[in-house]
């Protein structure tokens, strides 16, 4: 008999989107669950189990934003053999990582006005900044995406089962490799924004070459080029391709160099004004994994 795999599913600070993706996965898993090959031992969205002793695999979504997240991440890490950072938030920090452009005090007073920052004892306190899991605990595997496509989740689970290493699960393919739009090896001479210049409905030309800032050339494949297929530039939710042994910083640097600088803008220093929101464009999901993960003051 095959050994039963025990599974934990949970989310820290996130938008619940990853949970939806994980729930979608349950259906295809049902068969294996019925056949007693997989057992879900702890998953607050599905079960009322309040704790567990040990599990083989934890699919942990969300990032570490407050003291409760930190405690929980450590608690789960201790009890599982394989921790899988699930979704952009857990893997690289996620979209709310852009909040790291403000100090936590500025964030609180920006939203709630002039309040007393002393937090009541029973409420988890905000940490200084949003962190991906890897900054606090050892992570064994990752599932990219905001939220991850259920196929991507299944692919990683399958890879784990077959004993592959993380970089063996994902080849260094990019969204461009999955994108049906046509490239002509041209570079654009101005930056277009979807909000000002909507993409032509019937277009079959590469969006980047038209001038829209599409991060497809750097972004890890797996979503099936969901966005560019519908005429929306890729914003990099799968994270950038990171070569084995390479740092996130290098992957970010390569993205800026290859995509940002591909625009033939003159004088060259105008590129920053043309892009308008440079940091938000290139680091929408990955800022908390950069070597400066938050504003320094």
């Amino acid at each position: 008999m095959v050994k039963k795999i025990s599974l934990v599913i949970d989310e820290l600070t996130g938008c619940e989107g990853c949970k939806m993706s994980l729930l979608e996965l349950i259906e295809p898993l049902l068969d294996s669950i019925m056949r007693d090959e997989i057992e879900i031992v702890y998953a607050p969205i599905l079960l009322d189990a309040e704790s567990f002793d040990h599990a083989d695999i934890a699919l942990l979504a969300g990032s570490i934003r407050n003291s409760e997240d930190l405690e929980k991440a450590r608690w789960i890490r201790e009890k599982v053999d394989i921790l899988v950072a699930t979704g952009a938030c857990a893997y690289i920090g996620g979209i709310h990582g852009l909040g790291n452009l403000f100090t936590w005090r500025d964030l609180v007073s920006g939203v709630f006005g002039n309040v007393n920052h002393e937090v009541a004892d029973e409420i988890p306190s905000l940490l200084e900044y949003t962190k991906p899991l890897w900054r606090e605990v050892n992570v064994d595997y990752f599932i990219p995406g905001c939220p991850p496509n259920p196929d991507t989740i299944a692919k990683v689970l399958d890879g784990i089962k077959r004993g592959l290493k993380p970089h063996e699960i994902f080849e260094a393919r990019t969204v461009c490799d999955e994108c049906p739009l046509k490239r002509e090896e041209k570079s654009a001479s101005k930056v277009l924004r979807v909000i000002d210049t909507p993409v032509e409905q019937s277009t079959d030309r590469c969006l980047l070459e038209q001038g829209y800032l599409c991060l497809g050339p750097s972004t890890l494949a797996g979503c099936g080029a969901l966005c560019p297929k519908k005429g929306v530039p890729c914003i990099g939710c799968y994270g950038f391709v990171v070569k084995p042994g390479e740092s996130f910083d290098n992957a970010i640097a390569r993205t800026i160099a290859s995509i940002g600088a591909s625009f033939k803008i003159e004088p060259p220093e105008r590129i920053d004004d043309e892009i308008l929101d440079t940091i938000g464009t290139f680091m929408k999901f990955i800022l908390p994994s950069f070597f400066i993960p938050r504003i320094i003051k």
Binding site: D249, A253, G260, P268, T278, I292
Partner: protein
């Protein structure tokens, strides 16, 4: 950076292109122009070789400032290397300053092979500013 001896502070890493920036620095040397010793020069074939990764790496290594020196527009030995370099530099500088890194820590200059004096001035000016700012927040 060698950890054995205490480096001079502030310390600037200057990436100089072979045909203009480095030649300019060389001219400063052969003309016996005196300037601050706070700079480590790295000679590169073209400023177009220098991208965000080199600037990030220099800061991570603990340099207080990073200087990229390329040719004047139109003078690049490889035609457009300095344009590419400047675009990449502008973007990474924008990201670094958005995160609170002081403007003066990362600088791009166009210096020709005939401008030895200009090279010395730039190094002096940058050293003075970095001295005011204090050590880089990334010095370990």
């Amino acid at each position: 950076m060698a950890k054995k001896h205490k480096p001079i502070r502030p310390l600037i890493l200057a990436y100089c292109c072979n045909y203009c920036g480095y030649a300019g620095a060389d001219l400063a040397g052969v003309s016996r122009i005196e300037y601050e010793p706070n700079v480590v020069i790295v000679r590169v074939p073209c400023s177009g070789r220098i991208g965000p990764e080199h600037i990030i790496e220099a800061l991570k290594e603990g340099y207080d400032g990073v200087l990229v020196v390329g040719c004047h527009y139109g003078d690049c030995h490889f035609i457009s290397g300095n344009y590419v370099s400047k675009r990449r530099f502008t973007l990474i500088k924008s990201i670094l300053t958005s995160l609170g890194v002081e403007e003066e820590r990362v600088r791009f200059e166009h210096i020709s092979a005939a401008e030895g004096r200009r090279f010395a001035e730039v190094v002096n000016e940058m050293t003075r500013k970095l001295r005011e700012l204090g050590p880089s927040p990334f010095v370990r």
